[in-house]
Amino acid sequence: MFDLLTLQQYWWFLISLLGALFVFMTFVQGGQTLLYTLAKTEDERDVLVNSLGRKWELTFTALVMFGGALFAAMPLFYAVSFGGAYYVWMGILFCFIIQAVSYEYRKKPDNIYGERFYEALLYINGSLGIFLIGVAVATLFSGGNFIVNENNLSHWTVESYGLEALLNPFNIAFGLMLVFLSRFQGALYFLNNVNVPSITARIKKVVLINFGIFLLLFLYVVSTILFMDGLRYDATTSVISVESMKFFHSFMHMPLLIVLLLIAVSALLYGVFIAVAKNAQKAIWFSGFGVTLTVLVLFLILGLDSSVFYPSLADMQSSLTIENSSASQYTLEVMSIVSLLVPVVVLYIIFVWRSMDKSQITIDEVKSDPHHY
């Protein structure tokens, strides 16, 4: 059908797209951290929770899908990173386990731990969970302490199993960047989805503050990526070597990505601008498009142009590339056929989303529904 490299690139694109859509969907997590900032009364808070409550499962599913796609298409990464950076991934999973029950149990009588407890769980999921995901993604640029042996079995070289990533300022900045991104996105989502004037009145300030912090972190992260030493592999010998300003060069080799990044950032800025200037309901669509495209470009730069997408700090030649860590040609072919389902899934999600969100959610609607969260 296609040659192996094309399939590997196609699957790296799909993984990147999934990662990008997941980051967009983390407006749910950001929203969870704003429950007490944007809402001042019980009723207001209920509206926010119910507004997020219709979306959170999609974000959750996108994360699971991201894991599944990595397992099927890049099994060596799945084995090396999950089995090595053990504590970080486990931390992320715990943050999502506690989210899954919180919406349903928060308001239920006899929920033992009380409403505030479940709201705290939502806060942890929205802050720590997203921060750790950011740290984990950052290590795709900054590297992990692993060694892969001649049978492709791997081990981590430090017993902090991933927690050492927290000592790297770049990783920390990346994690915080995602947290503030999800927060202003969460606020923009509420602007779109919720019809409670008192809440809307508080959104502008929240967007400005969180976007401002995000922007500073974003500039730091992107400039670090552009000027950092990167790893490149030789397509014929598979030998990996250091190249200064590797990602800068990769952008130069793929000018399309520069164009996409400029479009992405413009859309993001426009979205934030119309939200702040005009309280525009549709702001989330522009900023969301911008966020998705930005993350997509950042992932693509990791996988294409003979890049290393997971550098090893312990043994450079153990570093992972889309060529040395992918599934077999046959499996990638099978999965590529399966991926034809993606548009179907996307279409029904859009269709359902539109029919459920025809009108904005109000306090009365939440109160009149005995099944509300």
């Binding site: 599944g68 099927a72 099994p75 084995a79 999950f82 791997s154 599934a327 999965m335 099944h371």
Partner: protein, 509 residues
Amino acid sequence: MEQTELLVDWSRAQFALTALYHWLFVPLTLGLTFIVAIMETIYVKTGDEKWKQTTKFWMGLLAINFAIGLATGIIMEFEFGTNWSNYSWIVGDIFGAPLAIEGLMAFFMESTFFAVMFFGWNKVSKKAHLLSTWLVAIGSNLSALWILVANGWMQHPVGMKFNPDTARNEMESFWEVFFNPNAVSKFLHTISSGYVLASLFVIGISAWYLLKKRDTQFAKRSIIVASSFGLITSLFLLTTGDESAHQVALNQPMKLAAMEGLYDGEKRAGIVAFGVLDPKKEIGDNHAPFLLSFEIPGALSFLGYHDLNAFVPGIKNLIQGSKEHGILSIPEKMEKGRIAVAALGAYKKFKKEGDLLQASQALKTFEQNQAYMGYGYLKKPEDAVPNVALSFYSFHTMVGLGTWFLILFVISLYYSMTNEMHNKKWLLYLAIATIPLGYVAQEAGWIVAEAGRQPWAIQDLLPVGMAASNITSTSVMVTFWLFAVLFTALLIAEVKIMIKQIKIGPEGH
């Protein structure tokens, strides 16, 4: 070396803990989604608001269960990477695919239409809502399909080839993996067990209302739907169970022997209908395996091979081998396995040195012995035997309870047809008491399937000891206890919330 064993034990303990917890919630979802869909269909057909209320009540309980099912489920997929990273590499090329397909095909369907099912009553048309409810049911069952394709493959690996260069198994035929007879029977058996559990759940809770003499019309309606559904599906459960046992006999004879406590093989082997194992019994001694037993002659031969006179090998035969029955002994398999492991190492070494002739010879040796490669990692022949008591008791618990469920469905359907159910207090009490038994049977079934597969992660191919991640046992111990505390805390909340909702009753919906 000791450290490795400790690591494997903790990794297994953690996987078992999380899987058993997850499995408390999945079967109910599998079945209750269908029961709710049937109820809503009756509502849409008849337009009777009472059926809508009935639907909404059970849907409410479903949501409480669904949430904790998701919470305990997300870890299952990632645990293959975090705790079984060698496994993830060695068989990930085959195993990853069904998991990814599960996400794409099933999880998105479930989560998208779940929101419509709960919040869409006034937002979409009646028919669109009904369709969404059915799609949630289909989605959750599709998810079971793919995860059991994956699990079936662990029990009976097919459709792949070992690639010595990448040192992993690679998929050769997707359809062979998908239509793996073990996966098919496992899938059908598992989903029907979910339908049975959900039926027991609905009957038991409705029986409580009848005992309390409240919401009686609602309860009677629910019992009729659930006992019809339960009766049909438990007949299906029986036939698929028979097929599952047949598959075990064909592909995992050691597991079958352990399930039946059969040490010495025989023709016309019987099934122990009831038995107490002698805990002092060891492989190779002359003790009788049972302190007390009641056997149905010929039944095991028939169940396993569909032939009353078939020879069923016992644990001893499988270890010592038997020329007469064409069974290779475990020591011989271990020897071949060691040759395969050494040849693979030699192949790698010669290839690296550029000695292609030697490399191809080593590869030939490897290929001749590769079928037994997994045995090369076992330390002693007895390691090939799963825990007999655990396999035996869980298997017999499952079968015994399954039989009781069938009887209960017959009785409750009969009395609800004659409209006498509410007068039969003994039956109502039995129905309530059977809910926890349904869960016991579910967990027992899962234990037979997974503990009975030991020592293999992938049958005959990869022992659990080789499959684990290379981390310290302390790390796994830490997360084990975190899971134990968190899941228990969530379970307690779930049960309390569920009981409260039942007490509030359908009027509150």
